[in-house]
């Protein structure tokens, strides 16, 4: 069996209207642009998108936002896309803002069977409003709940056909944690190799986390996003 999927449409078979979807990337860097494109073309809406940013204006998740398919965004830095603020002003989208460390830790917790955890981050700030506080060893912490999704769309550098993944430089970012925290995990990659070609010591995401892999056809370059393949 190979986990290789022929195209974006088959890769997104599991996605339904109303789903919660994690999308990897730090802005466009390490974002699964091919899968985002397929999601934009799919007839689904009311999506909750968990991603550090909602892309940039008209790029990446920014396109999905423009199509009004996002009901709610959960992230740490929506400021990177002005359209998000405008959509929020118009009441078209809900937003949940989390510190970046809390966002990544909550996703990790969701993938690792941890129900919730206490962090010092945000204690005493507006983002801690309505969050339970607890003192541990004399220091103030707030409770944060784990985050999971129906589907995670991630980007890696190379996959083997079993689904083992390695990443490329700072395009790694949220992708490995999101790979652990969704019912269905689809990875878009630059290259697919045979099992054994990735060193067992350097595989970052073991194949048990990955349900499907797709060759990327939208690539981030210094000149912007280009299509190929």
């Amino acid at each position: 069996m190979t986990k290789l999927l022929p195209d974006g449409t088959s890769a997104l078979e599991a996605v339904k209207t109303g789903d919660t979807i994690m999308v990897g990337g730090f802005g466009l860097i390490g974002a699964p642009l091919t899968l985002i494109d397929a999601l934009t073309n799919k007839d689904v809406k009311d999506l909750t998108i968990i991603s550090n940013n909602l892309g940039e204006k008209g790029k990446g998740l920014g396109i999905l936002l423009g199509e009004k398919k996002i009901k709610k965004g959960i992230g740490s830095y929506f400021t990177s896309n002005r359209d998000v603020g405008d959509a929020y002003q118009r009441g078209e989208i809900e937003l949940e803002l989390l510190p970046q460390g809390t966002l990544s830790e909550s996703i990790r917790a969701g993938g690792a069977g941890i129900g919730g955890y206490y962090t010092k981050t945000g204690v005493g700030t507006e983002l801690a409003k309505n969050k339970e506080e607890r003192e541990i060893n004399g220091e103030r912490y707030i409770f944060e709940q784990a985050i999971r999704a129906n589907v995670a769309l991630i980007r890696a550098w190379k996959a083997d056909t079993l689904g083992n993944l390695v990443y490329y430089k700072t395009a790694r970012n949220f992708n490995p944690v999101m790979a652990t925290a969704a019912d269905v995990v689809i990875a878009e990659v630059d290259e697919i190799v045979e099992p054994g070609e990735l060193s067992p010591e350097e595989i970052v995401t073991p194949h048990l986390f990955v349900d499907g892999i797709l060759l990327a056809s939208k690539i981030l370059t210094n000149e912007g996003v280009v299509s190929h393949g």
Partner: protein, 215 residues
């Protein structure tokens, strides 16, 4: 791009970094600090997942190698990449020695506000709150006043604070303050600045303990 005021603040902040140490630089003036460091034991960490950030030439830019401000960077020899959860584990867990951050406002106890403006949508916080709770030392680099000329060093912040933790040092184009026991101490005037000017442009209360030779 960066003006002389910003450069002078960055240059002064660079003097605070003596290796071996691990430093996280925020967006804006903090990013400029790196170019004034030639101590190869000052290791730059960026929260999107790299320890060992360095400059990159125009011709070696890689779209997938960026800092937290999404600007192209390079990697040093001995650098390492890691995921976002691991990166913030380093930050919250106390493994980053120094964070240099920009601010919108500071209060006279050293608390800062740098992520939201009331009345505007609160839509970006990034790693600011994590760095405030986790970095062993936090240095603020900022212009002394806002664009409208008002002091950024206030008795109390009117913008939402980033953390209940006080920063350790504030560096502006006019002065250097240390924060001791939640009180500001003016320890240094920047070249060309006068005590009167600092007093005039600082709403926050501060004590004066200018270091020898600092005037």
């Amino acid at each position: 791009m960066a003006n002389e005021i910003q450069e002078s603040i960055a240059r002064r902040a660079a003097k605070e970094l003596n290796g071996p140490c691990v430093v996280n630089l925020g967006i804006g003036i903090p990013t400029l600090v790196a170019k004034y460091i030639d101590d190869e034991q000052v290791y730059f960490h960026t929260e999107n997942g790299l320890l060992g950030v360095t400059d990159v030439d125009e011709e070696n830019k890689d779209p997938n190698l960026v800092n937290a401000g999404k600007l192209p960077v390079g990697e040093t020899i001995g650098a390492s990449f890691f995921n976002s959860a691991e990166s913030f584990g380093m930050i919250r867990g106390g493994h980053v020695d120094v964070a240099i951050l920009g601010v919108l406002q500071m209060d006279q106890s050293g608390k800062i506000a740098n992520w939201a403006v009331p009345g505007k949508n609160i839509m970006g916080v990034g790693g600011a709150m994590d760095l405030l709770v986790g970095a062993k030392k936090v240095i603020v680099t900022t212009t002394h006043t806002a664009k409208d000329g008002s002091s950024k060093l206030l008795k109390e912040c009117t913008f939402p604070i980033t953390s209940t933790r006080s920063v350790d040092m504030i560096i502006t184009e006019l002065a250097v303050f240390e924060v001791k026991e939640k009180k500001l101490e003016l320890v240094e005037l920047m070249p060309g600045a006068t005590l009167d000017e600092v007093k005039e442009k600082t709403e926050a209360e501060f004590s004066i303990r200018l270091k020898e030779g600092a005037l």
